[in-house]
């Protein structure tokens, strides 16, 4: 890391800027669909950073689950319901308070990060890419109970979502 700025670092910073700008877009856009589209860009940035961190599997799962499924779900809900214009406060009345709280949180986090001493590896070669098989082994041995619980949770959530979104029989 002593040999100045590497290409990876340049890519990382580009991705970080894209991600952060998109994130700001998500929380400030005046249009919900714009916010959702910004969200996709932010997710793509996160996926790119995963790639830089050599965890391709997580990056691809991120794309697959968030990129297509979640975002489509959101856009779907938006489009099935017609947009209409009406005067509506974009932000709550506690907006300055919220911003202040977020900034305080940020300051605290950055302070903590800077204050901590991290055991940085000496060279980038020391970072071993994590293989898919290792992840699989870990999930199906150490984390098998959480995995099953997540499976149950997913099916419950699926049922719940269907129940919630399906129209009542006595709606009309």
């Amino acid at each position: 890391m002593e040999d100045g700025v590497t290409a990876t670092q340049v890519v990382f910073w580009i991705l970080a800027v894209v991600m952060l700008v998109s994130a700001i877009g998500v929380v400030t856009a005046g249009n919900i669909v714009y916010a959702a589209l910004f969200f996709i860009a932010a997710l793509a940035g996160v996926a790119g950073i995963y790639l830089i961190l050599t965890v391709e599997f997580i990056a691809l799962v991120q794309l697959l689950v968030y990129g297509s499924a979640v975002v489509i779900l959101i856009l779907f809900a938006l489009m099935l319901t017609r947009a209409r214009e009406r005067p509506q406060a974009l932000f709550g009345r506690s907006r300055p308070l919220g911003i202040a709280a977020a900034l305080g949180l940020l300051a605290m986090l950055i302070g903590a990060i800077v204050a901590t001493t991290w055991s940085t590896p000496e060279t980038s070669a020391a970072i071993q890419p994590v293989g898919l098989q290792a992840i699989g082994d870990a999930i199906f041995t150490i984390w098998i109970v959480p995995f099953i619980i997540v499976g149950v949770l997913l099916s419950i959530a699926l049922d719940g979502a269907i129940m919630l979104a399906s129209p009542d029989e006595d709606d009309n």
């Binding site: 669909v33 714009y34 589209l37 691809l60 697959l64 990129g67 297509s68 499924a69 489009m79």
Partner: protein, 402 residues
């Protein structure tokens, strides 16, 4: 390692990368031209017509004429359309398709890069192009486009799931086979899967997988009988109804490239790609010919489905995915897991899959029969006595005579 090996020269990485990009762009363009021409010709054959004949020898330059027309056409944006969503949508639909070319093997050594997670990559990235479709649908400010976009999104989500499950089933089989004489962790790589099919193409091991994959591919590509997002007679073309000129052309290009991609994937995963039946050491030329032959056959099948199938309804489409394909895919995954866990032979896997496939077809046929019921009957009724054919030669009388 495409070009450096082929040309026998070494070159800097960035030139190599650039050349690959150029190669892919050229391939996409030529492929789209060829596919459009082929589609028109094949459809014409199936529909008792002749197709394009006037432009160039037997109409071969028709696609180029079309492309020239598209490029020179005015690029219109509706005044109420959302500017950014409308203008960016074609690129959002196009770029993911372009990116998916990375792990596709044309021969044993011809690919951009062999990814360890190639299959996951393909579906993860390809799924993003639906975002472009949704942007186009919402940004056009057109109700037909919106309906088409909603349909496309629903369809894409629904059919991705059985397809992914089938891929899981295939990877299970591949991992079992690769563990014998290779690295089982490479089972996600498309090239490794192709390399394993020297003697047995996976269509024999996973016939159900092949069928579900092709059905899902038709749905992802918006091809009949799953073309309701772009149905002419219902939503007048769907999400790109407001597009014209080259932006519309980009959607078109993405569509045909995706068709080629899906067919390449299917032929790689299930038909043995460059490998089966000649093996890895027959040389580059024959491998390319093999790939082309397999893809061509599949393309003819896909295009033929357009001529011979009407269109499903959106609820039937969703029901077919969630109630028919998804259970079958899950059963296939579970069956594979059980058989492989207990060390079952390959032929057992194939047999079970064949049985499942037969059950699937039987179910579809049974559903159709049940729905169709009895046909129309003919009744012969006794004719009434004929009315007066010619008017009686009557003398007019005063009206109102009671």
């Amino acid at each position: 390692m495409v070009l450096s090996e082929f040309a026998g020269v070494s070159m800097p990485d960035w030139i190599d990368a650039l050349l690959r990009v150029v190669f892919i762009v050229a391939l996409m363009t030529i492929n789209a031209f060829a596919l459009i021409y082929l589609e028109r010709k094949i459809l014409a054959r199936l529909q008792a017509r002749v197709g394009p004949t006037r432009t160039g020898p037997i109409g071969t330059l028709q696609s180029i004429a079309d492309a020239l027309k598209l490029v020179t056409k005015e690029d219109v944006r509706p005044i109420t359309a959302d500017r950014w969503a409308f203008e960016l949508a074609p690129y959002m639909a196009f770029v993911p398709v372009f990116l998916v070319f990375v792990p596709i093997p044309f021969t044993e050594t011809w690919f951009i890069r062999d990814l360890n997670l190639g299959l996951l990559y393909v579906f993860g990235v390809l799924g993003l192009n639906i975002v472009g479709v949704v942007m186009a649908a919402w940004g056009s400010d057109n109700k037909y486009a919106l309906l088409g976009g909603v349909r496309a999104a629903a369809q894409a989500i629904s059919y991705e799931i059985p397809m992914l499950l089938i891929i899981v089933a295939v990877v299970m089989v591949a991992a079992g086979r690769l563990a014998v004489d290779g690295d089982a962790s490479m089972a996600g790589s498309i090239n490794a899967i192709v390399g394993d099919q020297t003697t047995t193409p996976y269509i024999l091991l996973q016939p159900l997988g092949f069928v579900i994959f092709m059905i899902g591919a038709l749905a992802e590509l918006h091809r009949p009988p799953f073309d309701m997002p772009i149905a002419e007679s219902e939503v007048v073309g769907g999400y790109f109804v407001e597009y014209s000129g080259m932006r519309w052309g980009l959607f078109f290009l993405a569509e045909y490239t995706a068709l080629f991609l899906m067919v390449m994937l299917a032929s790689s995963i299930f038909l043995g790609g460059w490998n089966w039946p000649f093996g890895a050491d027959v040389g580059l030329g024959l491998q390319i010919v093999l790939t082309l032959v397999k893809t061509s056959v599949m393309i003819v099948l896909v295009i033929g489905s357009r001529a011979l199938f009407p269109r499903l309804r959106i609820d039937q489409l969703m029901a077919f995915s969630w109630k028919v394909l998804l259970p079958f895919a899950i059963v296939q995954v579970i069956a594979n897991g059980i058989i492989l866990a207990y060390g079952g032979a390959d032929w057992v896997v194939g047999l079970v899959s064949f049985a499942l496939l037969a059950a699937l077809f039987g179910l579809i046929y049974q559903l159709m029969r049940q729905r169709k019921g009895e046909g129309a009957r003919t009744v012969s009724t006794t004719p009434a006595t004929p009315r007066v054919i010619t008017a009686p030669d009557v003398t007019p009388v005063e009206a109102g005579g009671d």
